[in-house]
Assembly symmetry: C2
Homo-oligomer: 150 residues x 2
DNA sequence: AAAGATAATTGAATATTATTCGAAAATTAA
DNA sequence: TTAATTTTCGAATAATATTCAATTATCTTT
């Protein structure tokens, strides 16, 4: 049997979706052509970056979620974006922010379990420029990507 | 003129989208009916919570983003979910996690600017049960919701 | 204020796309 | 091995997005 699921999840995680114009039109009581026009405008302005799926990550083997607070070496202060860009490339990384304060980078990371996270931190993160990492492990996700769980 | 944009953004932020089966079918070189079946299966299993838009938040007046680390009072340790649930209800809150360590709650918050954030923290967060809040302000978002910026 | 330019709204027609259905193949259970 | 269940997939249909052209509204310039 083909296992399409993995590929499917991979695509839907960051794209390959589209707005439901007819449903929105009904909801807002406006002609669908008007909504079509307004949606295309948002897209043209690049206010919309993507249309995507939000998952119950436990069910797609990404149940272990952490916030990763990263301190950079002083010689990296100049361009935290270098390391940020590097970390953004990993599929396990949901978000990368360059922040104020003691931790110059904040990541949100999703992996299968603690072992996978250990592997992530051990092999992937300790690149030169990173001085210290604090991991805040999520026990329970109550809201994600503006979507409330349960 | 109707200002549909606000309502539109509100809906697309957490739903009212759908997968593009034909496009996925072409990409994966599979019949669209097979993909349809597999997508419906994911939905039935509730592995998919929603289909939604990801925005360039600067362009929809939510350019100010922070991570909010919250310490709870000892008498709230028993059910951090009470406060979590409460905070999850705000539109400004992208995510709520119950975490290990010094901060029992971690929020991701999006508002227009620093003033709006001050208002959020001042009026909304200081509910009984919350002892301390640390705000990590994002200077630059390099990746959000699995979508890379730029 | 007026005139012209630009942007937004909308219905009708068309093009795409999702969905249903049924049959066959594959997998799993007994 | 057989029976039950799940998955694949083509053909037909239903639903939806998109294009187009005309009208209305808004903004700009004088």
């Amino acid at each position: 049997m083909k296992d399409i699921t993995q590929k499917l999840v991979g695509l839907l995680k960051s794209g390959y979706c589209t707005p439901q114009i007819a449903r929105i039109a009904k909801k807002l009581q406006e002609p669908s052509t008007t909504l079509h026009y307004n949606i295309k405008k948002l897209e043209k302005e690049k206010a919309v970056l993507a249309y995507k799926a939000v998952f119950d990550y436990k069910k797609i083997d990404e149940g272990f979620c952490t916030y990763c607070l990263i301190s950079l070496a002083p010689d990296e202060y100049g361009n935290p974006e270098r390391i940020g860009k590097l970390l953004a490339q990993f599929n396990e990384v949901e978000s990368v922010d360059i922040c104020t304060g003691d931790w110059e980078l904040v990541l949100k990371v999703r992996v299968k379990d603690q072992d996978a996270y250990y592997h992530f931190v051990k092999n992937i993160v300790p690149r030169k420029g990173i001085i210290k990492i604090i991991s805040l492990v999520s026990f329970k996700q109550m809201k994600t990507e503006f979507v409330t769980l349960e």
